[in-house]
Amino acid sequence: MNSFSALIPLLIIVFASLCIMILEAFLKKENKDYLAYISIIFLVVCGFFLVRAWNKDFSYFNGNLFLDNLSLFFSFIFLITTFLVILISMKYISLQGVNCGEYYSLLLLALSGMLIMVSSGDLLVIFLGLEVLSISSYSLAGLRRKDEKSSEAAIKYFLLGCFASAFLVYGIALLYGATYSTDIASIINHFQSGESLGLMALIGLGMFVIGFGFKIAVVPFHMWTPDVYEGAPTPITAFFSVGPKAVGFAVLLRVLYPYLKNVQDSSKAIFLLLCIISVLTMVVGNLIALRQTNLKRILAYSSIAHAGYLLIAILAQDNASLVFYLTVYIFMNIGAFAAVIALGKKDKEYLELEDYAGIGFKYPWIGATFSVFLLSLAGFPPTGGFLAKFYVFSAAVRQDLVPLVIIGVLASLISVFYYLRIIVYMYMKEPSYEVDINIDNPGLFLVLFLCLYGVLQLGIFPGNVLILIKQAVTALL
């Protein structure tokens, strides 16, 4: 249905971002905490409109922007992501001296980019959204201006991001050249009818996948991840590790699912390449993570490894399990980062593994919730991480991808080692020095609790969420 309603959520977020930017210029320094509350209010309003649009299939701009159930579901989990990130940032940015309104403004702008990406079927519009997201992300990574590492992260992210965007645009151009369209559906149609356009379109699609491979950080396009994650302000790292990754997978899902499903003969090449990438990602991500001692880098490599598991879901063509995995992943990863952020005080963050010795007893709540998130990331029942992996792997077995599943299971066995090592440090090592932190941080504890709830709810009673997801992915058929 062509309706202006399709545009409203996006407009709200863009308006919120602009609003905060203006307020930032006019507000006094001590009142800047209000900006976080204002952004949360806008998020809630936007969430309300998203929920209202469920099952309505609004679209606008001649169908270039639409809100089918899948876009709605993704938009909603991005809203939740941003909401959680804002909550964990509130104290952090004043403690670490990043206290400025641009932070929230850019975060909301990035969110608007993600909303554009998931609610369009046109490659150019998707690219537009991607650039909105990327440029905001580059600035966000460099927001800790006093810190050299932060600036380094920003410039690395920017240069490599441009590099990847070039591939992406080239891919889109080739696809357009081969099919005279930038619309995903008609491109797939061309593939299906596909006579002579084979090679050019195939390379175009390949370049497109490469460009998005950068966003979702799969090997070998992952090199930026650890450095950027380490340098960026920690809440922004949390955002990077879930937001752009989830949106990348959402777009890949829209492009690759109909491709893998409908295009028979030539699809083998892309399919096999994705298999190789998935294996490389799981193995390399987990192996390097073993050697890390910095928590942010461990989590960075763990997020690379998770991209590998998620690729299996794409290859198994099981959309519901992919979306479920992403949903769980958002809660457990943001939860884990929240626990990392919790260990900080004025102008100091504790990020080394050594700092975590004895934390489990000194700060039982942080230790316990962090352990749950780590166990979920490692895939232990009864957490959501277990069910997510279980669904993905069982879908892959149904699609006869047994070798992939075996490698996936072995890789997650390796991952258990470094996840458990953190827990071992927290509960079984004697601290050799004092770690004292600022625990007056209600927003952060709220996030810990919400994520704990999410992980356990999705792990023990996933029924209702699964029903929603099943409704959402019917949009793809």
Binding site: L18, M21, I22, E24, A25, F26, E148, L199, M200, I203
Partner: protein
């Protein structure tokens, strides 16, 4: 068709190969003096990388930014008659966003030479 991409692959691979060969084969003799930013013989007084004022470049950036945005007015003016009132609304929204950016930059003191 295939030649085009073959060229891409071959030359791209060649580029990678050359850099990697350089790295593998080239002699690596490093000493602290060689690593230091200045090699003129005297010990340096401060870090090589320092923040320095960007006054002029800031103004240049802003000029460029608003200048390029004005470029969008030309295609708009060409199709204005066909689209009509919608085009007006869209352009107002566009200018509104620009305006906010302008106010932000002004209020933040980007146009002040001395602070």
């Amino acid at each position: 068709m295939i030649e085009l991409f073959l060229v891409f692959v071959i030359f791209g691979f060649l580029g990678v190969l050359l850099v990697v060969m350089n790295k593998l084969l080239g002699p690596k003799r490093s000493n602290p003096t060689k690593e230091s930013p200045f090699e003129c013989g005297s010990p340096y007084l401060q870090d090589g990388i320092n923040p320095f004022p960007l006054k002029y470049s800031l103004v240049a950036f802003l000029f460029l930014l608003f200048d390029i945005e004005v470029v969008f007015f030309f295609p708009w003016a060409l199709v204005f008659k066909e689209i009509g009132i919608t085009a007006l609304i869209v352009m107002f929204a566009y200018i509104f966003i620009l305006l906010i950016g302008f106010i932000y930059a002004w209020k933040k003191g980007a146009f002040q030479w001395e602070r």
